[in-house]
Symmetry: C2
Subunit: 443 residues, 2 copies
């Protein structure tokens, strides 16, 4: 009997050319992609045939939108069993995406103990350490010997996700240390855990710390997991490095997308209407902003009517300053994303951008000045362009580098619509300086 035939023994109905047994044999991350590629009716058929554990693992790996759509299409009994089988952090993420009615319906069907845990997890903000932590932690008493600890681990470890660390608590459940499995494996049998631990290595975070800061900690100290504690230093859970990779990815998408007024959580899989709702408010704000710049141009209608070429050239000034500002903006937003905020360092970076802006605007305005003299022979027009370029590119460097910091200082997301605000400033100042100078020097 071939392997293929053998696999067909169990769950041998072909769905979209695949049996449930074949799907089950895939890594959950691959199975998730396979499921995402199917029609909803086939998705439901598959999930019904998979063992609950495999279904839960695969669904946990699916993209949020697809995951929610699938759960909505399953009967509630099965959906609740799947939620119950997921690790609590994945289950919480899923439940957070569902509407209130369905969430409560599923929670009612989960056994009381797990329900209580999920409800607690749901009270943490989704963007905090508490909201992303995993509660399946190995906790050991610091007075155990290494061999007792290993025996206890062997009993417990089956259920736990990736216990590369075990955490030590004192008699009052307070976190006092951490030992890695590596240290346990290499330690002498009779040693007590408390003697293995160097407390200086213990890094933990409060449950209400922003998840991006959690990511900074794990990245900076090269940790595999970071313990999360309450105000009494009691251990609540851990954030693991694989969750941090997701946080870093999300954070990068958020910054790049909100910078231009797209949704923080949009992907190419988002429903069209979801993206429209996220983007249209910013497009409207952008219209209002470009109306301001248009109004500046309108003030110079007479100048333009007298010399129409100015309308063409003013565009080069504003565009160039906009690009200069965006370069500063991009470097600044990445700086804020990758390191803990340091006010002094951040404002020093603004100063750095102004220096770059000075050099670049000098070089570019010289180039444009020469080009205009070469093409038109008009020294005054060239001077207007040159001066306006220096002014507006410096404004761009200053605005691009300081907008994220200003947004941060007033408690907003440093990236949000920053590119839209920047362009309004560089456009308005560019038009005003160039047309103003032209009005004085040329007419």
């Amino acid at each position: 009997m071939s392997v293929k035939e053998e696999m067909h023994i169990k769950g041998d109905e072909l769905i979209d050319g695949l049996t449930a047994a074949e799907l089950e044999a895939q890594h959950p991350a691959d199975a998730a992609e396979t499921i995402e590629g199917l029609d909803m009716s086939d998705q439901v058929k598959f999930v019904k045939q998979l063992p609950i554990k495999d279904a839960a693992e695969s669904i946990a790996e699916m993209e949020s939108n697809d995951q929610i759509a699938l759960i909505q299409n399953l009967n509630r009994g099965l959906a609740a069993r799947i939620v119950n089988q997921m690790s609590p952090d994945d289950a919480t993420d899923l439940l957070e995406g569902l509407d209130e009615v369905l969430r409560q319906a599923l929670l009612q069907r989960v056994p009381a103990e797990e329900r209580a845990e999920l409800k607690t997890l749901l009270t943490f903000g989704p963007d905090t350490a508490g909201g992303v932590m995993n509660t399946e932690v190995v906790i050991l008493d610091q007075d155990l010997h290494v061999d007792e600890a290993i025996t206890k681990l062997r009993q417990e470890v089956e259920d736990k996700e990736i216990p590369y660390y075990a955490y030590l608590t004192d008699a009052k459940d307070r976190l006092v240390g951490v030992v890695s499995l590596r240290e346990l494996l290499l330690a002498k049998r009779g040693v007590r855990l408390k003697d293995l631990v160097k407390t200086q290595n213990l890094i933990s975070v409060g449950y209400n710390i922003d998840k991006e800061e959690v990511a900074h900690h794990i990245a900076k100290y090269n940790l595999l997991a970071l313990p999360v504690v309450d105000f009494g230093n009691r251990l609540l859970g851990v954030v693991t490095v694989d969750d941090v990779i997701d946080i870093i990815h999300e954070e990068a998408s958020e910054d790049m997308q909100t910078m231009v007024g797209a949704g923080a959580d949009e992907t190419t899989d988002s429903p069209v209407i979801f993206s429209v709702k996220k983007r249209i408010p910013w497009l409207i704000i952008n219209v209002a902003n470009s109306a301001i710049a248009a109004y500046v141009v309108h003030l110079f209608d007479d100048t333009i009517a007298a010399m129409a070429i100015l309308a063409a050239l003013m565009h080069i000034v504003s565009n160039q300053a906009g690009n200069t500002g965006q370069q500063a903006l991009a470097v600044m937003i990445r700086q804020l994303a990758m390191e803990k905020f340091d006010r002094k360092k951040a404002w020093f970076a603004v100063f750095r951008e102004i220096k770059i802006g000075l050099i670049n605007s000098g070089l570019i305005s010289m180039l444009v000045l020469l080009a205009i003299i070469a093409f038109t022979g008009d020294f005054k027009l060239a001077a207007c362009m040159g001066i306006a370029l220096v002014i507006d590119m410096l404004v761009g460097a200053l605005a691009g580098s300081s907008i994220p910091l200003i947004l941060k200082e007033i408690g907003r997301d440093p990236a949000q619509a920053s590119s839209i605000f920047l362009t309004t400033i560089t456009d308005a100042i560019g038009f005003w300086s160039f047309l103003g100078l032209a009005g004085i020097l040329l007419l």
Copy 2:
């Protein structure tokens, strides 16, 4: 004697208010930040006082620019001892940043065996799996029993960075499996390693695979490390999850920064002249591009001279289409960064952006149309704006979503200068469609 006094016994000269012993007590990541904040002469003083191991660990955590500057300022004997003490992947990264003369001088001072290893690592492309892998791997014979393996591990493990996995090879050094320390810890003593291993779990990559793809693998399968093999499936090293976090961070910075023509590897710590060199070529390309759009405007000089308000309004059209395109661009670049490239899915995403563009351009052009009628009562002018907005916003949606794919298909970085190209297109088409329509309908 207080802790403070005790620490002063060793290396008690105060440098910038801190003793070498205090610095030594910091986590290497914190010590790196402390060192970066000092004047170069103080940096050199500290490094001379630190034990070589601590100096190497701290310098490995410093930012690339600072690291290189410091090494250039140390005497070559000390610099070579530090390089030799670093883990080979960190040492390779550092050596790659140095000029050829200094690199060779340091390599000459490293013992022959380590020199040979570093030279081999330097032959791998810095953006490949081979270029980022760590060669300190625990390799076990698959015929060992669990207890023999643990004994061998205890002897070896001191030198190795984070050996949460041990790799199994056959008689010909070919990679045949992986066991985690967790599995070793939990397994029965007498079991043979080969019986612990499920080969289906073995995921490895070739040494010439792009490091971003390595990051995708580790992120997708939630791995702590990924083995790197040669064409004969012999184990060369591993890429660990902490390196992957750095890769993901770098990748996000690259995309956001190159999109607008800033340098891929710029940070707020980069020297001003470094940033100028990276940005000025793209600013020049941007001038040339905006000259194209300006030329389009110039074609309509007569139209603008006859009706100067058009110069103000055309700006709203181009700006709005630019913003629409940037929203599509951002979502698309993130898609390409986060998942393995799937041509069918990618072009489907372009189709999705066109649908979003249709809805958004309809809504925005309706809004602008009504506003213009309300302010000016000029139906024809309003119609010109409305139609030009729909045309240009659709062009923006199409260009923003397809530029990264076209760049990818021709083998370029999908983000590089994409925002600059996009703006050229939306500006030129916006000016042309609006001024063209105005010439026909209004004059």
